[in-house]
Symmetry: C2
Subunit: 299 residues, 2 copies
Amino acid sequence: MKKLVETVPNFSEGRNKDTIEKILICFKDKEGVKLLDLHRDKDHNRLVVTAVGGPDELKRAVLEAVGTAINLIDMRAHRGEHPRMGAVDVIPFIPVKNISMEEVVKLSKDTAKEIWKTYHLPVFLYEESASSPARKNLANIRKGQFEGMPEKLKSPGWGPDFGEREIHPTAGVVAVGARMPLVAYNINLDTDNIEIARAIAKAVRQSNGGLPYCKAIGIELRERKITQVSMNMTDYTQTPLYRALEYVRAEAKRHNVNVIGSEIVGLVPMAAIVDSATYYMGLEDFNIDKILETKIIEQ
Amino acid sequence: MKKLVETVPNFSEGRNKDTIEKILICFKDKEGVKLLDLHRDKDHNRLVVTAVGGPDELKRAVLEAVGTAINLIDMRAHRGEHPRMGAVDVIPFIPVKNISMEEVVKLSKDTAKEIWKTYHLPVFLYEESASSPARKNLANIRKGQFEGMPEKLKSPGWGPDFGEREIHPTAGVVAVGARMPLVAYNINLDTDNIEIARAIAKAVRQSNGGLPYCKAIGIELRERKITQVSMNMTDYTQTPLYRALEYVRAEAKRHNVNVIGSEIVGLVPMAAIVDSATYYMGLEDFNIDKILETKIIEQ
């Protein structure tokens, strides 16, 4: 069974076409690697690449792209709205098929080690690969951004996991880690009362004692005159989408409000949808191995 | 966008391992062709192969397998429980991705023509490729089986679509055609009263004025002491699975019976499941292009 990993590296360049093309080329026409998607944002001045492949092949492609980014991006001149701390800002690895989280953690650490060894770019490990709870959350690591990193690296507890307590002069630092796929799942309510959406979001999110692996906020969709519980599901294998939907539906009833639809933003793993279909259709003995496309990918 | 077609050829050999292996080899290690599944049944004395690939590559693999089957299978000695009329009994072609039904009909006709030209095996076109309504249904064509075919071919209206009115002496005849993927979908009821299952099956099936593209019978699951509406959905793009489920659920209520689960037998296209998940989750703007695995296959 072929092992398949996804990576979604973020590069601090969303404007210079030549630089972007040279980064993308590292993922193109590579045996065992597929470039699935790219998102460049001029305001953020950031490039987000989505690629899948075998663990070794993907590691090689990422290392090449890191080298390219270090050569071509000078963070001392970088301006953009998105918080960032390096030329390559963050490199998550995500298990897709036939590979355990443990293996992907190892892949992330191997990659991190080689990034330091090859390019002398200091690396923080984050999420499942984090060396301490304080480093699990990327926002904690990135706080201070590129400009604040020289000082931060020297402060107690903030030496990098690979490298010395000094930034790469032009490329800063990078976070590398393994994580579950994240599903951006939003549920629409037939009310324009934002307080109700916020109350439901509060009830459903993990941090207030709701569903595990669920982050949620209430937002207004002004044009449609409705509100939305906007969620990030950080592990759909632990908290399936249908459970979030039914939880929100039940909470909505308390406020005499109805769920009128939902949406998924970006790409979602097939298993997350199959799982919810299985629930609603009451399917017995069903899983993604019964899907034709799974067999096609496995060959 | 790569065109992808599925074929599920049925061969009249389920016992001889050497013959089976030689047929399978035609689909293995072929550039652009993937052998997905095989099912051999000794009682039926039949081999069912599932393969996908590009239209041209798949046609070449099928032609090679037809030649192998003709060389190695002698229908004059064939015994098995499943009705059959040839060494290769039936070859359906099914659109999977980025290809229209019209193109797959053409593929089936090109393949049929070459089968006659190369091997002098007479071919009937069936389903979407049928040259008349009487030939749409495979059962009509196969009636009489191998033993009755010599006489049938000479009877009015039963000349083959390619070839002369005489069977191949050892390989009989074959049916080739294009069809939609068939989904075997069963719905379980919390009653052991077979009459209720039969009444619901009668209400839901197309031939009694129920749902289009739905064949249905009521059956008993004696061990579990329940009954089942067992359905063949012949075009899930026209009649989605959720609609059959909700239709059966509504009919069941008339009999004070509940739907307690459902099952899909064999492989099902991702779109059929995504479609039903979209319905039950009220997903807006959702389709298989939002599924990670779709992007992986498309590359």
